[in-house]
């Protein structure tokens, strides 16, 4: 008995959309395993998860709040992966953006609020973007593998932040690694009363639209896709592959940086060592679930946010550790990969 994997005729578009949805459903089903293993009551677990994330107006808005950085990092990774720039460094780029936003935020010049906010965002975007161009340059000039460099640079930026938070950026007279609070004028306004729904969420939605526009309507978007599919043929056709990779890195890092900006300017108002609970890495799963498409990425980010927020209340009510969120995250990725495979190939069992 062996399995034969043969290519299958391409499936129509609408089926392709169902695939991530199906993957999410399967993942939720499979989540029952770790929940049961942890001794949690299944019904209570699922209901507390969904209620905790979507049950009340506040909860729903909280889910949106959590979805913002995930959307940004998801977009960052999706855009990079589309051009086969394996940006595993979204975490470090996020930190770079957070650092830059903090620096502007605590020393904001005397300008109208709008100008200050623009400055904060621009600083964060640029910081993240530039940090991503380092591995991109290493890839184009020296053919150094981007997976390893983007990863290693996460740790480098983490330690740079540590140095800053115990040094120049440290809150005076404190022994904790924490920056001074950013000024009121540099903080993102809350847009809906009795919630934390802030400007950053709107910016995230705008980012989704902008990335969609770039992908489908611009020369750059076409070129990035061509480079991702076949860099040799793209070069043959006259596309400047190196330039495309660098610009992709800039945009990708910038988007990740915006995630950091949001966390500082809207949620914590200080720079902290644990400003990011792994948003950059979650972005990878989100991007894959979203099939590297901006809209899919946004929906996947929302789904993840539901899981993360819901896991908190699930944990309070059932005692299942909050790490279940990470487990579900990992499972979702694997289920998604297998589902993707099934859209392209048919698996048959054949008797020898």
């Amino acid at each position: 008995m062996r399995m034969i994997i043969t290519k299958r005729a391409p499936l129509p578009g609408w089926v392709q959309v169902l695939v991530p949805v199906g993957a999410i459903l399967v993942t939720l089903l499979l989540s029952a395993v770790p929940i049961l293993f942890a001794g949690g009551d299944l019904w209570l677990s699922y209901t507390s998860l969904f209620k905790g994330a979507l049950g009340t107006r506040y909860n729903f808005l909280e889910t949106c709040v959590k979805a913002a950085p995930l959307t940004f990092t998801g977009l960052a990774v999706a855009f990079a992966f589309r051009a086969k720039f394996w940006n595993i460094g979204a975490e470090g780029q996020l930190l770079a953006g957070a650092i830059a936003a903090t620096w502007v935020g605590i020393s904001a010049p005397a300008l109208p609020k709008v100008a200050v906010l623009i400055l904060v965002c621009a600083a964060g975007f640029l910081a993240g973007g530039l940090w991503a161009t380092v591995p991109a340059l290493l890839k184009t000039k020296y053919r150094v593998d981007d997976v390893v460099t983007t990863l290693l640079l996460n740790y480098v930026m983490w330690h740079i932040m540590g140095y800053l938070l115990f040094g120049p950026l440290q809150m005076p007279n404190s022994s904790w690694p924490r920056s001074p609070a950013i000024l009121e004028i540099a903080r993102f306004p809350v847009l809906l009363a009795r919630s934390r729904f802030h400007l950053g969420i709107v910016l995230a939605v705008a980012a989704v639209l902008i990335v969609w526009f770039i992908n489908s309507k611009t020369v750059f978007g076409y070129q990035a896709r061509a480079v991702g599919v076949n860099p040799r043929a793209a070069a043959f056709g006259g596309i400047n592959v190196d330039s495309v990779i660098i610009r992709t890195a800039l945009l990708s890092g910038g988007l990740a940086g915006m995630a950091g900006v949001g966390e500082v300017a809207a949620i914590h108002f200080h720079l902290l060592m644990d400003i990011s609970p792994g948003f950059g890495y979650s972005g990878i799963v989100i991007a894959m679930l979203g099939r590297l498409h901006p809209l899919g990425t946004a929906l996947a980010a929302f789904f993840f946010s539901v899981i993360i927020v819901g896991a908190q209340s699930m944990s309070r009510l059932t005692g299942v550790p909050t790490y279940i969120a990470e487990v579900i995250q990992g499972m979702a990725l694997i289920v998604m990969l297998i589902a993707l495979l099934l859209t392209e190939y048919r698996i048959k069992a054949v008797k020898d």
Partner: protein, 524 residues
């Protein structure tokens, strides 16, 4: 061992001469059918091979010859049918089983590891259950085989240092090392110079006389006539004819291969060349191994002329083409199109200079298979389709439809993914993209490789059409027939240099063959 091979019979049992029994069927393939997705590669094919015979499997590209032999070698599994070796029914689930039945195969694209030595390549996988490598024992066995069959290669040389002919010898030694008695060769002469082909044939005759049975896949008629005892013709997956070579002719085989009566191929009328449009001066190009592959090459190609560049693969043609395409930076030298020098290593410059480029590996270099047909068609000029800074998909769509219709590209629509198209239609995408803008210069590298007769005819027609519009065309090809058919002038490339240039109408095959093997003296 019989001193001369016994007389072959084409199916009936004859009273054998000189007391030998009629040769047994070493291989029988009955009613083999194999389908991939929606293509039936082999349709109910029944084929047999007798001991000690050289049987040719003839057919055009895509006829199913390689598939059939891959089934015999255990690489594919047939959907239905059975195989018998030496009269016994067998079932192969992998090449391991075929090798155990003493079948060996020399594939069209070599299955060697270039960075390893000859010895390592030959020995891999045949350790016989031993844990530690016994290289000295293996070396001895290899040298014995080399002497017995006259195939000399240095066992400790890394394979990448060997010329193509040498690499093929390694492939044959691999099979012999595993005691192959049935040898399958898939288009072995496609990569050989005429001299090396003669050597190969001598080797095959030696093997046959020692009792090996040989299947020789080819689409070259004159070779089949020269080396084979029997020929079996496959057309579009069906076995359409079987002949003894002594009882047939090239003309008959050609007709059987294509299924219609082919008139003797007429040479199209010669062009009338004008001023040089492609000028190459002192070009020196390094290959991936950092060795000079193109050595001080100078060439002029005139408007309305086809310059055929003949030569065995591996003599610098790939590097020459890549330098012209802008994919590889030359060490020195100058390339000019219509008098204007091209900045080196900038594909965009080649595109903008009015050069139509047809790359050798269409799938890896010329196409973006996961993108749509229309996205492939505008690869080089997509920036031209902009309104208000945005890509104008409507205009792109119109442009694509026009090209699809002009070039008769068979596709499920302009938005279908390129990977759903057949080889011939993929090449049409490239032709449409490169030739539709009436380029001044056309550089075509192996443009008909792997295509069926219909597609080959179409490519030739388009090339001749470009010539009629005044383009200067460099046609790099391993296929001598193609070179002779189309070229106004023929140049031969050997070890990075041009051995000579002859007039297309009057050049002799022999002269070209000698140049291809690096022999410099002119024919008497």
């Amino acid at each position: 061992m019989p001193a001369d091979r016994p007389a072959m019979s084409a199916g009936t049992e004859e009273a054998p001469a000189s007391g030998h029994t009629a040769p047994a069927c070493v291989v029988e393939m009955r009613s083999i059918t194999k389908t991939f997705l929606d293509v039936t590669a082999n349709n109910n094919v029944t084929f047999s091979l007798r001991e000690g015979e050289i049987c040719a499997l003839l057919g055009e590209n895509g006829a199913g010859k390689t598939t059939l032999m891959n089934i015999l070698f255990g690489y594919y599994a047939a959907d239905s049918g059975e195989i018998r070796i030496g009269g016994e029914k067998v079932s192969f689930s992998s090449p391991k089983d075929a090798i155990a039945c003493r079948i060996g195969m020399v594939h069209q694209h070599f299955t060697l590891v270039p960075s390893q030595t000859v010895l390592e390549n030959v020995v891999v996988g045949s350790g016989g259950g031993k844990f530690f490598l016994d290289l000295s024992g293996a070396r001895k066995k290899l040298l014995d085989l080399q002497e017995r069959f006259g195939l000399s290669v240095d066992p400790d040389a890394p394979v990448w240092t060997l010329p193509i002919g040498g690499q093929q010898k390694v492939e044959i030694l691999k099979a012999l090392y595993r005691d192959a008695r049935i040898l399958i060769l898939d288009e072995p002469t496609a990569v050989l110079a005429p001299l090396e082909t003669r050597e190969l044939f001598a080797t095959l005759r030696t093997l046959a006389s020692e009792g090996c049975s040989i299947i020789f896949i080819s689409h070259k008629l004159y070779e089949v006539m020269e080396i084979a005892d029997r020929v079996v013709v496959l057309t579009k997956g069906v076995l359409t004819a079987e002949r003894k070579v002594s009882e047939t002719s090239e003309r008959e085989l050609a007709n059987l291969m294509v299924g219609r009566d082919l008139a003797e191929k007429k040479r199209p009328p010669r062009g009338s060349p004008g001023k040089p449009l492609l000028e190459i001066r002192g070009l020196r190009v390094k290959n991936d191994r950092n060795l000079e592959a193109v050595k001080d090459l100078s060439l002029d190609i005139r408007s309305g002329e086809i310059m055929g560049m003949a030569g065995v693969s591996g003599n610098g043609q790939r590097e020459l083409a890549e330098a012209l395409f802008g994919l590889r930076r030359p060490l020195s030298g100058c390339i000019s199109v219509d008098g204007r020098p091209l900045p080196p290593a900038r594909p965009k410059a080649s595109v903008e200079s009015g050069m139509g480029r047809i790359p050798e590996d269409r799938m890896t270099t010329g196409l973006l298979l996961e993108l749509s047909v229309e996205e492939n068609l505008v690869l080089e000029n997509h920036a031209d389709f902009r309104t208000l800074g945005m890509l104008d998909h409507v205009a792109i769509g119109r442009h694509a439809e026009r090209l699809i219709s002009d070039f008769s590209i068979k596709t499920d629509g302009r938005t279908a993914k390129a990977q759903t198209l057949s080889g011939g239609n993929l090449q049409k995408i490239i032709l449409a993209r490169e030739l539709s803008a009436s380029p001044k210069v056309v550089v075509a590298a192996q443009p008909t490789r792997g295509l069926d007769v219909g597609a080959i005819e179409y490519v030739h027609w388009r090339i001749l059409d470009a010539r009629a519009s005044g383009a200067a065309i460099l046609l790099i090809s391993e296929d001598l027939d193609e070179i002779f058919q189309l070229s106004d002038r023929i140049a031969v490339m050997y070890e990075g240099r041009i051995m000579g240039i002859a007039d297309g109408g009057s050049a002799s095959r022999e002269q070209i063959g000698l140049w291809m093997s690096g022999v410099n003296e002119p024919c008497a």
